[in-house]
Each structure stands twice: as C-alpha cells, then as structure tokens.
Amino acid sequence: MLEIQNLTVRFQLPQGTITALEGVNLTLRDGEKLCVVGESGSGKSVLMLAVLCLLPENACVSGSILLDGEDLLQKSQKDLTEIRGMKLSYVPQGSGNSLNPLLRLGFQVSESLVAHRRLPRRGADQRSIQLLQQFHLGDEEQLVRSYPHTLSGGMRQRALLALGIAPEAPYLVADEPTKGLDSDRVGLVVDCFNSLEGCSLLCVTHDLTFAQQVADRVAIIYAGQMIEYETAERFFGSPRHPYSKALLDAVPERGLNAIPGFSPGHEDYTDACRFYNRCPCRTAQCQTQPKDRWDGERMVKCIYGAP
C-alpha cells in the first residue's frame, strides 16, 4: 500500500518560495489503479516525482510517503536506488528526452531487465522484443536495433511503456502515458494497464477518456491542492467539485465546453478558494479556503459539493 500523508512541496527560487503542492493525502491500495488528473502546472507531476523521490535539490518536501509502511522520504539514496525498479517502476513522458539518443532501443528496454530482474543479456533481449510486440510497434526484431530518433513520437511513447513495465514491479508510476497517441494506440495502453494483475498504478494524466477506462479511483489536483478524491465510477457519473464538472464538460465526447478563465499563478494565491474566480457557484463563504471534507475514502474541497 502506498500512503501519501499531508504532502507539501515547496521550491526555493531566487525570487522566493513557491508552493507547488499543499497538504495532499491519498492512499493507493494494492492492485488499485489511481489516476491523478490536473491541468499543466497544477502540481500533478510534482506529486509523481515526490513519490519517486526524484525532485530537484531545491525542493523542500514535508509530510510522509509510506510505501508498504516505510517512509520513502527517510530513505538513503542507496536504498532508493534499490526500491526504484524493484518495487517502484516509472514510465516517463515520451515526447521529450526520455530515451538516450545514443543507445539502441533494444538495449534500453532490456537494461531494466538485466539490472533489476538479473536476466542474462540474451534472455533480456528476447523478452524486450516480446514486450514491444505487446504494443504493436511492427517489425520488432528490426526495431530493437534502431535508434530512438528514427521512431515517431507515438512509437517512442509505447517503447517507454514497455520499458516501464519490463521489471514487473508491484508499483507503477506513469507520467502522461497517452500524450500524443491516437485513440487506437490509447486502447493498447488501456489494455496493457488493465492486464497488469496485482500491480498498483499511479498514473498522472489529463486524458479523462483514458482515465475513465483505467482508473479505480481519481484524484483531481487544481493549483497545487487536491480538490476531489473519488472512486472513478462516482466521479465520472456525478462529480462534486465545480471544477471537476467543468473538466468533464470540456471532454470532446461530452460537448467540448470551455469554462472561462485560467488557473491562478503561484503569485495570485489568496485566502479565497483557488477556484473562486472561475467558479459558477461561488458564494461569500468561498472567500476563505474550504477545508478538505472527508467522507470515508472520498474527499471534496468545496462547501458546495459536500455530501
């Protein structure tokens, strides 16, 4: 079980301190699939990097992240190196520089098998071809000998997924695994995640259609705060926070309706609810930050959506 308790992340910058994430509490049970949804800049990637203990040095992290009862924030670098890969595996974002441009694709996929699963080189190569075949990249025997730049963005993204699931770690952390993929390819990712038996998934995404197909639970992050934490079934049926409603209304299949306004910058944070300026149901009470309202394992940070 992965428990995140009161996690706050601040960054020390020359201009001052920025609070990227504030008081996040959530639990990922064994075998559960949790999607963290938020706009770019909301802090969802910071949450993911905090779990992996890969935040840059100027980050100041408080709270605790318990992986099977052990606090990752108290671990030494040596222990963390052991945990990453063996227990906690990572699927990075594919559009950028996540693959080494100087190494052949096959080497990079099999590297994690050799390092974490102690497979012999040849066995690892065979296994990596099988993993790539799972994502229908086409001509996989040839592909493992090619370099990342010869692959399209979608192919690189799928290769990174193969790389992430290769060590078969019990916890998988994925960063926008469907970014830039077309709907057929998104289907492959959905199948892949749904076939991971017993593996707990923490997936950061802004693709709500994808989240609906994969997630057991959904956490919505807005301007550095978790504002709703809900089972997927309830969230996609009747979301409670006004921002969650707006999110679902913006989905193309649900009408492509854009709410006006933009999420506040870090310098614009006030005492009011962070969604105050855009909220269609704001009242005078919203001038002060609402509390997290927990109801068993569900949470909403809004006076309006409370049960």
Partner: protein, 269 residues
C-alpha cells in the same frame, strides 16, 4: 472557386534504409471560411499534407492551387503570409532564448507590422495573455498558454488559411476546449479557413464541415454527420452547402516534378 485546390499529391520519403510512400494520390479542396478535417492513424502522412501546403516540404508530384494560382516553392509574398501553420508542440514553436514579447517583436520586424507595446497588450488580452506572460520565457509558460500565444502570433499576419496540425494533442482537456473554441470564434470574425489535422474523429466532428480520411496514401471523403458524438445540430445546415459546392478537378499529368531533383529534400519522418 475554392480557396485551396490540391490535386493528386504524391510524396515518398527515402532514407538509405527504406522508402516510405506516404501519399500516392491525395486530392482535396478547401473553401473560404470553412474547416476541413484530415483524419488518419499515426504515420499515415497527415502532417506531410499540412507541411506541403504550407511550403515546408515539397511534394514529388501533384498540383496545389491557392486562389487559383499555383504555389511556388519556397512560398513568397502574399502566399507566405496568408498560409500559416499551427504545430503540435507549442513548446518548441518559440525561440527558447526569447522572452515571449521578443517572439512577437520578431514577427513584427519580419513582416513590417508596427505595433506599440500597448497595442500588443490590448491585442493579446483577447487570447488570455497579459503583461506577466510577455516577460516570461517559453519554459516558464504552460502548454495551453503557449498554444494560445501561438494562435495570437499566427493571427497577427491576418492569414486566410491555417493548417492546424494536431494543435491540442499535447494540451489538457480544458486548454484543448479553450483553444479550439477560440479558433472557432476567430474563424467567425475573420473568415479564415482551417485545415484541421487530427486523429480524433470526435474533435473533427465538433469543428469541421467536411472530413477526409487518409488511407493508403489517398484521401476519401467521410460521410457526415457522424452519429458518434456530435451533439450540436446547428452546423449541419452549413454542411449541406459545402457538399453541393464541393468538387475535385482531375489531375494534370504535365505538372509532375522529376522525383530525383527532389530527392535531396526528402527527409525521414
């Protein structure tokens, strides 16, 4: 007369290892003020069409007429200004070393547009961009902000045809809806045509009056409206008109360019 007529486009990418025939016989038209969609799976050559139309790469053969005049490569004068493109990755569309304001000044300099800072700020307010954004570098802005800035920069040139090459596939859901609705509003104001390249049938249904599907290097027009996810019906009247006026002119064989001369311009995808 169509704004853009593309007839029998053909394009093959060649590397030392392999040849990939992406377009074999692609033809379509775009009328003034309409949005047409090009759908197809990844790697089917959708972006290639967009890049040929904007003059970034050349086709092996085929003709493209813009306002009844053939496109000359590299594009110059009014063609270069009026045909613009919006790319998938807004984060690399700006010079990373420039503050956003310098990115806009660069365009003003190249196209001899005179604009004071005040005018620029007023103009950008419609796109949800303010003084604070202008002072930042691209890396300090979100994808949605950058793509809105990109739309604003393209619109400065008062284009007549914009190729939208998956402009929202890197954006979050709300930014996607905002950018697409913004593009629709701009189309109503300015009568600009869009060539919308996407892999999402649902998004194409929302935006486009006609949809082509790219399959095996050829474009085929898709029946409309799709039953899949379309909710608004007021657009359908408009579509009928475009169906009646839509026509494709047969290929001109004489216009084919020798393939070997173009070979060095081919690049791997």
């Amino acid at each position: 007369m169509a704004l853009l007529e593309v007839v029998s486009l053909r394009k093959t990418y060649r590397t030392s290892m392999r040849r990939v025939e992406v377009l074999t016989d692609a033809s379509f038209t775009v009328e003034a003020g309409e949005t047409i969609g090009i759908l197809g799976p990844s790697g089917s050559g959708k972006s290639t069409i967009g890049q040929i139309v904007t003059g970034l790469i050349r086709a092996d053969s085929g003709t493209i007429r813009y306002r009844n005049e053939e496109l000359h490569y590299p594009l110059r004068s009014y063609q270069r200004k009026e045909i613009q493109i919006l790319f998938q990755h807004p984060e690399v569309s700006f010079n990373p070393k420039y503050r956003l304001e310098q990115g806009f000044q660069e365009i003003c300099r190249h196209y001899d547009l005179r604009m004071t800072r005040r005018e620029l700020l007023d103009y950008l307010a419609d796109f949800g961009l303010y003084r604070e954004h202008l002072e930042r570098h691209p890396i300090q802005l979100s994808g949605g902000e950058l793509q809105r800035a990109m739309v604003a920069r393209v619109m400065l040139l008062d284009p007549k045809l914009i190729v939208l090459d998956e402009p929202t596939s890197m954006l979050d859901t709300i930014s996607q809806a905002q950018v697409l609705r913004m593009l629709e509003a701009l189309q109503r104001q300015r009568q600009v045509s869009y060539l919308y390249i996407t892999h999402s049938r649902c998004l194409a249904d929302h935006l486009c009056q006609r949809i082509y599907y790219l399959d095996g290097g050829q474009l085929r027009e898709e029946p409309f409206p799709a039953e899949i996810c379309h909710q608004s019906s007021q657009k359908k009247e408009g579509r009928k008109f475009y169906h009646e006026t839509h026509h494709i002119i047969p290929a001109e064989h004489g216009a084919a360019a020798p393939a070997d001369r173009l070979r060095r311009e081919s690049q791997p995808k």
